[in-house]
């Protein structure tokens, strides 16, 4: 009874043993301390439940919406660019261009968020370096120059910093693909774009989705980028959480915002995981 379809996978007990160390780590180092936060919020205010959530909604409803929009736009752009880079690295016909691109695309990965945010603040400003260069090149008129230090700046910085992350994963997965189908399709005259969309992407979809979900989570959790770049008044939830704690010492509303932020992430991740389960028995 044991060895038919799932013969190659470890059984329940072994699986649980294998997952146990990492789960233990999460439980001890995160869930247990998190529990303290929740409990202390209970003990102090007496009404953890809705009061804090109501206040979070009352004060920050626009920021919640703003955060969702920023995260979705940024993640979508990251996905698009990562596929483009990975696709060119896999299908590009000019070896020199492929080599240049391979060398080029990874650098932002190594610049910490806090530094990226600082650099973008002086780069994207109205009289910042980007506009200066464009004006010097004659591509832009001094009077037309605008500042990007608003939602666009946040999106640009996130996309700049996170695209290499997803591209690295996606390019790795594409490189590991069996090339025979690709060559066959090409010999039949299929365009490279079509090969990318119809043959390659479906095969690396898992990796792509994982990369995008991780990007989504990172964007939800980074404080320095919205803090240092966005000057306008709807801002991202991380800024609000830090502000509640640092300015008011108010852990209750900060935790409520944290739960909202986790739900925004969790829903997307859950949707993806369910999807994976429905399409064929083995997950993903």
């Amino acid at each position: 009874m044991a060895t038919d379809t799932q013969a190659n996978g470890p059984n329940r007990i072994i699986s649980m043993v294998l997952v146990a160390p990492s789960l233990l780590m999460i439980a001890l180092l995160f869930l247990y301390p998190l529990g303290f936060s929740v409990v202390s919020a209970f003990a102090e205010s007496g009404s953890w439940g809705l009061a804090n959530f109501y206040k979070a909604y009352q004060f920050y409803s626009r920021d919640i919406l703003f955060t969702i929009v920023i995260v979705l736009i940024s993640t979508a752009l990251v996905g698009l660019f990562a596929i483009a880079i990975g696709g060119y690295l896999t299908l590009g016909e000019n070896p020199r261009a492929v080599a240049i691109l391979r060398w080029l695309y990874r650098w932002p990965l190594f610049i910490p968020f806090i530094v990226s945010a600082q650099l973008m603040r002086t780069f994207l400003a109205k009289n910042g370096m980007m506009n200066n260069v464009l004006i010097e090149l004659g591509l832009l008129d001094q009077l037309q120059s605008v500042s990007f230090l608003d939602w666009r700046g946040i999106v640009v910085t996130f996309v700049w910093k996170q695209t290499p992350f997803v591209a690295l994963l996606v390019a790795g997965a594409m490189a590991a693909l069996d090339r025979t189908t690709i060559e066959a399709a090409r010999n039949l005259g299929a365009s490279r774009l079509r090969i990318l969309i119809e043959i390659i992407i479906p095969q690396i979809a898992t990796t792509l989705m994982v990369g995008l979900i991780l990007t989504y989570v990172v964007i939800m959790s980074v404080l320095s980028v919205p803090l240092m770049i966005n000057a306008q008044s709807p801002t991202m939830l991380t800024v609000d959480m830090a502000f509640r704690i640092n300015s008011y010492g108010d852990y209750g509303v900060a935790n409520a915002l944290g739960i909202i932020s986790y739900l925004i992430t969790g829903i997307v991740a859950w949707f993806y995981l369910r999807q994976g389960l429905d399409n064929g028995g083995s997950p993903k």
Binding site: Q58, F59, R62, R121, T122, A125, K126, N127, G128, S147, L149, L227, M228, I229, N230, A231, Q232, S233, T235, V239, D240, A242, F243, I245, N246, S247, Y248, G249
Partner: protein
């Protein structure tokens, strides 16, 4: 097997690192202040103290600027208290007013001022009260800082002298004034607090109490005017962002911290044509405090350190001459040991009279929270 050698070698290398330093007594100073404050202890005060006390090493931990920086010190101390530790690993804390007051309220500090010889040299209100909280005995001011309006003197010949004039100027010069709201950095918060002092009625009550939770009901006029004012200005990304935009000529005027302004000028990040003006009826400033955690491992050494830090000589040479800050202890003790030229340099843009008239404290804690929440709800929302 060979894979194991790497981590073992690494662990060995680090423990060696730790052991070398463990031979001396280490005085841990946590600073929740600006970069120049961290640098001040690392480069000036620390080495001086080490020289006077052989076998002692001063280690500085910068926890970041603003409320967030001091909040991190609170959290670290609270964690040690909750864990039931007998000695704590921070010996001297440098924190801002609001958060040091919270530390006192939480019982995380030691009362030490009476025990040090320089304790009697600081007699301003700020060494006894912080935002309405009695901190007498628990703190010594390191220095006083002040917010003011910075302006580009090439573009603005006669800067506004009051909030009224500033409003008129901003109306005539749309988008030329800039500040950073209240969520990223205290210079914006100060501008808003100054606005409330000017337009929300009884400023003295906001500064000294007593607290009455109905007061905030009277602020609607001031807040809606501020909202209208905000339509015509530029928002900047943070304290540093305001200085940046002034630098690049994207705004001509904005609120900044005086000490940060001077250190940016010294580091060549803003041009010499930027000047300061402290407008009436006033903008807030605050001291940064030296305090000692209740269970500091080296509290005697910590007292000695603070004694040195608040001695007239160090306040004159370090705080005023090198770093251009307003002294923490009373001015008369400092002025004596200074070259008059240096003392004058401190007041190039903001005169002592202006400072006395227009340098205000922040509001008492409950009003301070009310102002910030009211701004979030009625101005920025």
């Amino acid at each position: 097997m060979k894979y194991l050698t790497i981590p073992l070698a690494l662990a060995g290398a680090i423990s060696l690192n730790v052991q070398v330093t463990a031979a001396e007594t280490i005085l841990n100073v946590a600073s929740g202040g600006s970069e120049n404050m961290v640098q001040y202890v690392t480069d000036y005060l620390g080495p001086m103290f080490e020289k006077q006390n052989p076998g002692v090493k001063v280690r500085v931990i910068g926890t970041g600027p603003g409320d967030a920086g001091t909040q991190k010190i609170i959290e670290k101390l609270e964690a040690q208290k909750n864990a039931g530790k007998e000695t704590w690993d921070i010996d001297v804390a440098v924190g801002n007013q609001q958060k040091t007051a919270e530390l006192v309220n939480m019982g995380l500090l030691k009362s030490y001022r009476a025990k040090i010889s320089t304790g009697s040299l600081a007699t301003r209100d700020t060494s006894k009260m912080a935002l309405g909280v009695n901190v007498d005995g628990y703190v010594m001011p390191m220095f006083h800082s002040q917010t003011a309006i910075a302006y580009n003197s090439d573009l603005v010949a006669t800067p506004p002298g009051s909030y009224d004039e500033l409003r008129a100027w901003a109306l005539k010069n749309p988008k030329a004034f800039g500040y950073n709201g209240i969520k990223n950095g205290m210079s914006g918060v100060s501008f808003v607090v100054g606005w409330m002092y000017a337009y929300a009625g009884d400023a003295a009550k906001l500064q000294n109490g007593p607290y009455d939770e109905n007061t905030k009901g009277n602020w609607d006029g001031a807040l809606s005017n501020l909202k209208a004012f905000n339509e015509n200005i530029t928002f900047t990304p943070g304290n540093a962002g305001t200085l940046d935009m002034l630098n690049r000529g994207e705004i001509a005027m904005g609120p900044v911290w005086v000490d940060m302004f001077y250190s940016w000028q010294a580091d060549g990040r803003i041009p010499p044509n930027l000047k300061l003006k402290l407008i009436s009826p006033g903008m807030p400033g605050q001291p940064y405090y030296y305090s000692i955690p209740a269970k500091a491992a080296n509290s005697d050494l910590a007292m000695k350190f603070i004694e040195l830090a608040t001695s007239p000589k160090v306040q004159a040479e370090g705080i005023v001459n090198r770093f251009n800050w307003y002294p923490g202890i009373d001015a008369m003790h400092v002025e004596k040991s200074l070259d008059p030229m240096v003392w004058k340099k401190l007041f190039t843009d903001v005169t002592p009279d202006e400072l006395a008239a227009n340098g205000k404290p922040f509001p008492i804690a409950p009003y301070f929270s009310d102002i910030k929440e009211a701004y979030e709800l009625k101005v920025s929302n």
